[in-house]
Symmetry: C2
């Protein structure tokens, strides 16, 4: 069977069955969550995540500057640490580049890496430089957290309110604008493209949310709501209902969608790379937590008992489920 029939999630399941069977007791999470988690003491756990960015798959030279690429490569990996409530500490970057790459390109790439590294006090401690036909970037981040203040994607409970910490679809709209070279007023264009090119990981938000016991499950939104929520409910063995009319849409996305005749809800559900957080909160605690938090919490649906059932309602009327991004299954998404 080709991998494009099995898909990314199918393959992760295969790896889980092969490698998660006999893990040591101090491994709190292995393959399948945003980060692997190792308990080091009663008060300290280590979070580890590693992700590839590949030219022509995750980015296109000409659509992103070297600084922006370096910035994004680090930021989207920091987002995995944010998704579990951790604090990033260390980064390693492996880079494959064509032999004709100008050293100025490399210096600009690492200047871009340095910005979020400084902002979030992450130290670049190593990596690898190799020749490659296409640009390949792998970032590994090690972070820490109190074992009690880590949230996994398998913690959702029926009745929980499903929330996001930011608007959805902006990064996907930004990508469409870049790829289709759509001209829009700078006021609309700029924030959407910025969402695509310079995501800011929700580290402080994740850190703060994970301290509340009422937050049951959490992960970052990298592959789009449809794909990521599907992973969350599968891991938690629950189902979900999404109220499409409650999806948080930025004014810029709404404006762009009007002009370009896009369905903004489809973008909010199916497009990836928003890098805000997806979480579930105990129903009775939601309002108080929302008032208390100094950042937005958008309620978009609720967790139900029925395992793997994922329903989208538009003002109460069921709509057909859009697909999320899978690197192998959904060729058309990027």
């Amino acid at each position: 069977m080709d991998i494009n029939k099995l898909g990314e999630d199918g393959f992760i399941s295969f790896l889980q069955s092969r490698f998660n069977a006999h893990l040591p007791k101090n491994v709190l999470a292995g393959i399948g969550d945003d980060c692997a988690v190792i308990k080091q003491s009663e008060t300290r756990a280590e979070l580890i995540t590693s992700d590839l960015l590949i030219e022509n798959e995750h980015f296109t030279i000409g659509q992103i500057s070297p600084e922006e690429l370096g910035h994004k490569a680090l930021s989207i990996n920091l987002s995995d640490i944010a998704g579990m409530g951790g604090t990033p500490k260390i980064a390693l970057i492996s880079l494959g580049i064509p032999k004709t790459t100008d050293t100025d390109w490399l210096k600009r790439f690492f200047s871009g890496v340095q910005k979020p590294a400084k902002k979030y006090q992450v130290h670049l401690l190593g990596g690898d430089l190799s020749k490659s036909e296409i640009i390949v970037i792998n970032v590994t981040i090690i972070g820490k957290a109190h074992p009690k203040n880590i949230r996994y994607r398998n913690g959702a409970i029926p009745g929980d309110i499903i929330c996001t910490t930011g608007p959805l679809g902006n990064a996907g709209a930004g990508l469409k604008i870049l790829q289709e070279e759509i001209s829009l007023s700078e006021k609309i264009r700029f924030p959407l493209i910025k969402s695509q090119i310079q995501p800011d990981p929700h580290l402080k938000i994740g850190n703060s949310l994970a301290k509340h016991p009422e937050v049951h499950a959490m992960m970052d939104l990298s592959d789009g709501l449809a794909a990521d929520l599907s992973r969350l409910i599968t891991a938690s063995k629950v189902g979900a209902i999404i109220h499409v009319e409650n999806l948080p849409l930025s004014l810029e996305l709404q404006e762009a969608a009007k002009i370009c005749r896009w369905d903004p809800h489809e973008l909010a559900i199916s497009s990836g790379e928003d890098y805000c957080l997806l979480l579930t909160i105990e129903r009775d605690a939601f309002s108080a937590l929302q008032k208390q938090c100094p950042f937005p919490l958008f309620a978009i649906g609720e967790i139900i008992k029925d395992p793997k059932s994922l329903t989208y309602l538009d003002h109460g009327k069921e709509i057909s489920p859009p697909k999320g991004f899978d690197h192998f299954l959904n060729e058309d998404m990027r």
Copy 2:
């Protein structure tokens, strides 16, 4: 300036100057050694390493089976842990593969990963799967060691004996046999190709050596003696003399070299991927340590004061220095 003029080492120096300046006190090694090292307590340090393997640069489909590729990908990263005396604990593998990849290929690849993982009790806890035009593999390993039992490449002292823990040039000869499709008797061919395709990291040897205070500097031999020794003496601010007649050559390499008219010493000095260890030992302690060790220690030269001076003597007569492998500087080596 193109990266092929600056070279890998030149670029690592640039990164060191940019990122190693303000490291926290608990960082015992940042960019530039086999692993980054973080001290966690008086008795425990963490070692972290991350390396890329890229199709057509590090391996060629058709010359290596999926199992062998998985085996090699993990092993060569374990070798970085061996080079500092550590014990590996955790692995993360990021994989970029063409969308037409058969899942059977992936299963075989991970079967290959599992062999050294089981042998050295390393747990695969995560990673990433992505689409790519060419196969791209990034392995991150996290290991541990007592802070006192870690050896760095900057510890060499004038007078030290330079040693290796295995024969040199076998993997390079194996690569030549594969690339040039040379037919040789199986007795000669098999061990040389095995060295190239299935390296076994010197983890127990590195672990054992690093417990001896007389071992001053250590690293793994991945890019060939010339390149790696040059890195060791640069880091240690010393020089070295190599006695070419003392380079350990396997009988198979000597036989193959005779038949194919290769210079076996050139292979031993310039070709990479032997994945044994390169170390320096206090002169007075060398003989006793060599007798005591249950594995071979080959003395190949000595450390001298003169910084960066690297001299190759053949029975006392200076020979011109061969080049080591640099991914960008020496196009012809692989």
